[in-house]
């Protein structure tokens, strides 16, 4: 892991390879994440999307290649995981859950500071959950839980937010709340969204990264069926609903 003060991008990934067992899941990936970028990461199941996020977060260590962070970015990456990755029935209050985003390798033996509690209150306000702060997360709906996870990822004041399938387990109303919140956050910080539903984000995103072991990077308006077919390994249909690049995979 390198740290460079004069880096142009927040994160620069070069020739990254990683896999489980002996099989590479992601191979020779290079990707730049710029300040205030908004990247959609799409691709088929098993294409390595979540794996790439975990590599960026340092949960997994790459076989090969480098991930360089701009000064002070490493460890200050917000992460909103899928619901299935944590203990959803853990008895904890909304505010304690959000507060736990402040915990790091350096401060886990200390008590929460007043400043950390203040930031947590602010973030719960931001995701509109202040009235639920003393409730248990067990009693929350999918949309509310999603917002707690976002609050948790924001309390450490990250410069970049990684979200893994944020629209997967929430209803359509919660989805539009989420999209508005992400747009608002994107004024300040970079956002990377792993999704199977790029349609939802089609108005907001700046770059589209398609991952199926290898990575294909596109700006807006550079995507065609041939490229997608290459990524998904099957014919893919592009449908325009007045929004560019709405993608539906044919089964």
């Amino acid at each position: 892991m390198q740290r460079d003060n004069d880096m142009e991008h927040l994160i620069e990934i070069r020739d990254l390879t990683f896999g489980y067992g002996r099989t590479a899941v992601v191979e020779d990936i290079s990707l730049d994440i710029a300040d205030k970028d908004y990247i959609l990461l799409i691709g088929p199941n098993g294409g390595g999307k979540t794996t790439l996020l975990k590599l960026i977060l340092g949960i997994l260590k790459p076989w090969n290649g480098t991930i360089a962070f701009q000064k002070d970015i490493a460890g200050q990456i917000g992460y909103v995981p899928q619901f299935s990755s944590f203990n959803r029935n853990f008895p904890i209050t909304v505010s304690e859950m959000a507060l736990s985003g402040c915990i790091s390798g350096r401060n886990y033996l200390k008590r929460y500071s007043r400043e950390e509690r203040r930031r947590t209150d602010m973030m719960l306000e931001k995701v509109n959950l202040s009235d639920k702060r003393n409730e248990s997360i067990i009693d929350l709906s999918g949309g509310q839980l999603q917002r707690v996870l976002i609050a948790r990822s924001l309390v450490s004041e990250p410069a970049i937010l990684l979200l893994d399938e944020p629209t997967a387990s929430i209803d359509i109303t919660s989805q539009s709340t989420l999209l508005n919140l992400l747009d608002e956050l994107n004024q300040e910080i970079a956002i990377v969204v792993v999704t199977h539903d790029p349609t939802a984000f089609s108005l907001s995103y700046r770059h589209l990264a398609c991952l199926n072991k290898n990575l294909y990077f596109h700006g807006r308006g550079k995507l065609d069926a041939a490229v997608l077919e290459n990524i998904y390994g099957c014919p893919v249909e592009l449908i325009g609903h007045g929004v560019p690049h709405t993608i539906v995979q044919k089964h």
Binding site: F86, N87, R88, N89, P91, M97, G105
Partner: protein, 278 residues
């Protein structure tokens, strides 16, 4: 009640019960939320192996069990996360632990009455000297949990996130496993190997019916544990039934009553500890 308390063995039993309840209340919620009940069972039975070896060597059985279980816990936590065969390994450990215990007891000349105490538990025979060791073990469990509370909650709630936040997740997991091992050894004194699991789970189950907040579940587990131990002890005294079994049955009845009262009067679904995953 005063007459009961005038006996030294009763005072010892009370102190042992209270300490056991504190240990259970502090470590139990982690065992239940982290789904380590089966592993705790394996460690408990592995402890029997340690007891047997200690008996054969002629050292104090509690020391033998402590060292043996700590070693097993260290090995287990190294295996965890690295293989999905953990479940299988714990099952084997369960059986082999008991087998080792039996072989070593068999090899030791003479009858081993103390080991029956360890198997079925008899809180009424806990000597003063063991109370001191129990106090040390209790502190050895409670102090790390309190100082490292945030870290342990993090790995029980969302291990992956803890890794992303650069917490020493492997060390915390090993630490928790060691603490479970110490807790098990402490509890063996009170209710015996067979009933340790019950004392680690029943108070937490009751507390889980009463609260959905981890800190409160801990506190309530301690209180429930003390209540169960005291009630169980008095019943064992007045009805002249074995104390360990009496404590557990009391706990089960208590849990049953709380669940039924909740069901009939509040109609709330059971949550925190009942079904951990949706």
């Amino acid at each position: 009640m005063q007459s009961i308390l005038s006996y030294e063995f009763m005072q010892n039993a009370l102190m042992a019960g209270i300490m056991a309840s504190i240990v259970c209340g502090v470590i139990g919620p982690f065992i239940v939320t982290k789904r380590m009940v089966f592993i705790s069972g394996g460690l408990t039975h592995a402890a029997f192996g340690g007891l047997g070896i200690a008996y054969w060597l002629g050292i104090r059985p509690l020391y033998g069990a402590t060292v043996f279980v700590l070693c097993i816990a260290a090995i287990l936590s190294r295996l965890e996360g690295r293989t999905d065969k953990n479940d299988l390994f714990v099952g084997i450990l369960w059986a082999v632990g008991v087998a080792i215990g039996i072989i070593f007891i068999h090899m030791t000349p003479g009858y081993a009455p103390d080991l029956m105490t360890f198997l079925f538990g008899n809180i009424l025979t806990v000597p003063r000297s063991d109370i001191v060791i129990m106090l040390i073990l209790t502190l050895a469990v409670v102090v790390p949990i309190v100082t490292c509370y945030k870290g342990f909650v993090s790995i029980a709630l969302d291990e992956e996130y803890a890794r992303a936040r650069q917490l020493p997740v492997n060390a915390l997991n090993t630490g928790l496993m060691m603490l479970v091992a110490l807790a098990v050894v402490t509890l063996i004194q009170v209710v015996g190997i067979i009933l340790v699991i019950a004392l680690l789970t029943i108070p937490v189950a009751i507390a889980g019916e009463l609260s959905l907040i981890f800190r409160r579940i801990m506190l309530l587990s301690i209180l429930c544990g003390i209540m169960i131990c005291l009630t169980g002890l008095s019943l064992s005294y007045s009805l002249e039934v074995p104390s360990g079994a009496s404590i557990i049955i009391t706990g089960a009845v208590f849990l049953g009553s709380v669940k039924s009262i909740k069901y009939f009067f509040f109609r709330r679904r059971s949550t925190a500890t009942g079904e951990m995953h949706p």
